[in-house]
Symmetry: C2
Subunit: 258 residues, 2 copies
């Protein structure tokens, strides 16, 4: 790492024109040299999708002043792969950051999140990686209150590093009149979406279905969780691993003698 | 559960016309009542993507004899959500199975896998769930040697259940002259794809990029891993959780006093 001027790779899932990535670029320019490789269209909910069976497009973009930026036809995970192995080639980023997502990626949302898939892809590459999300879906969300926390967390990771294979999932409460209470290191809350589907008819008489749903938190009172922290106006930080092995269940299954 | 005739939900990521899901339907018909909700097009590499911001299509399909089947325009995770909350409504499946995938989903591939996202979506719903994959990408792959193992594992899960929130990632070696050595309960190998990009020009002179790459296994000698088991002709079974929290790193980060 170039301690004086670290190389910072930025991606997101809302697309390169989103206000969130613009804000993140501005914050990271205070910390080092920034390179952006981000999707050319919204990729929310893409999870850890990658593009197989068709090629990718990648074009330089002048959207940010004085920043090397590229827009890509692929998913957030594709963007990080292309950035690491094509755009940057022999240069290794000191930090990968993704976001700032317009909308929460706390609890189970981490699985559906394109923002976090870019960060986890960074972790797979062995790079210190962070996904930032604001708990506000609005395209014109207020980001100013989030800036000092994002800068502080990124600086800490640049200084101290994080264990290989770990990406931080950072969520920031939506702007309100109350000041942020602080930063809380958390675990992923056990929660899910209770889906509902609304059936409609198109002008040709054929049915289609809108997925809607309500969020159900199974451990509302658990102060160790990200959802509790956010509900109490803390910035939540969950270290995430991509090794999914349920270690205790390995032992259970061995006793089945399959 | 109806012990005598369990309800089994089937999905996949190669699409409803794939040989793998046809094979899985045949095996599961020996165990209970089968309902299929599967994508109407290939969804390989879709990870845990869900469809946000546009509606879904769902049409009944006559592709399987005597089986209630539906083809869906969405991702594998969408299919399980639609199946659980719309198609089956008040009926709860006793088992969710996904696959049989044409291609390995062992080690890091679990993250990119649409097959496993369907199984993990089942686990999020609190249902016993299994993703089955054959280590053979061919659309005409040989599945016969896999059948008894798939049936045995599905039967065991129907009888014993698995802990809530866990989905099994089952991978089966490609057909060879050597008989399968048995079933091995494993952990996810620490491995990754070392990407490479091939630049080409379209007929209009614009560049595009094919993602290629080679598989790198960082723990080739570790007999506890799924990759080791598959390399030694075992069926690998990895229990997977969707809580990504890296518990040890939570303690490390707390000491940063952010």
């Amino acid at each position: 790492m170039s301690a004086s001027n670290p190389l910072i790779l930025i991606s997101n899932d809302d697309g390169i024109t989103a206000l969130g990535i613009r804000t993140l670029v501005e914050i990271m320019q205070e910390l080092g040299e920034v390179v952006v490789v981000a999707p050319n269209s919204p990729q929310s909910g893409m999870g850890h999708a990658i593009t197989i069976g068709e090629p990718l497009r990648l074009y330089p973009s002048k959207i940010f002043d004085n920043v090397a930026a590229y827009e890509c036809s692929g998913t957030p995970a594709d963007c990080v792969k292309l950035a690491k192995h094509w755009v940057l080639k022999d240069r290794t980023p000191d930090l990968v950051v993704s976001g700032i997502n317009h909308g929460s990626n706390a609890s189970v949302n981490v699985l559906y999140s394109g923002t976090m898939s870019a960060a986890i892809e960074g972790a797979i590459e062995g790079l210190p990686s962070i996904g930032f999300s604001l708990c506000d879906f609005s395209p014109t969300a207020h980001f100013a209150h989030a800036r000092p926390f994002i800068k502080q967390i990124a600086q800490a990771v640049l200084q101290k590093g994080i264990p290989k294979g770990i990406a931080l999932n950072v969520n920031i409460p939506a702007y309100s009149a109350n000041a942020i209470a602080g930063i809380k290191i958390c675990q992923q809350a056990n929660a899910k979406w209770q889906e509902d589907f609304e059936e409609r008819q198109d002008p040709y008489g054929r049915h289609y279905y809108w997925m809607t749903g309500s969020f159900v938190n199974f451990e509302k009172e658990n102060q160790a969780t990200d959802e509790w922290a956010l509900a109490h106006n803390y910035v939540s930080v969950v270290p995430c691993q991509y090794n999914l092995t349920a270690v205790e269940t390995v032992q259970t299954l061995k006793q089945w003698n399959l």
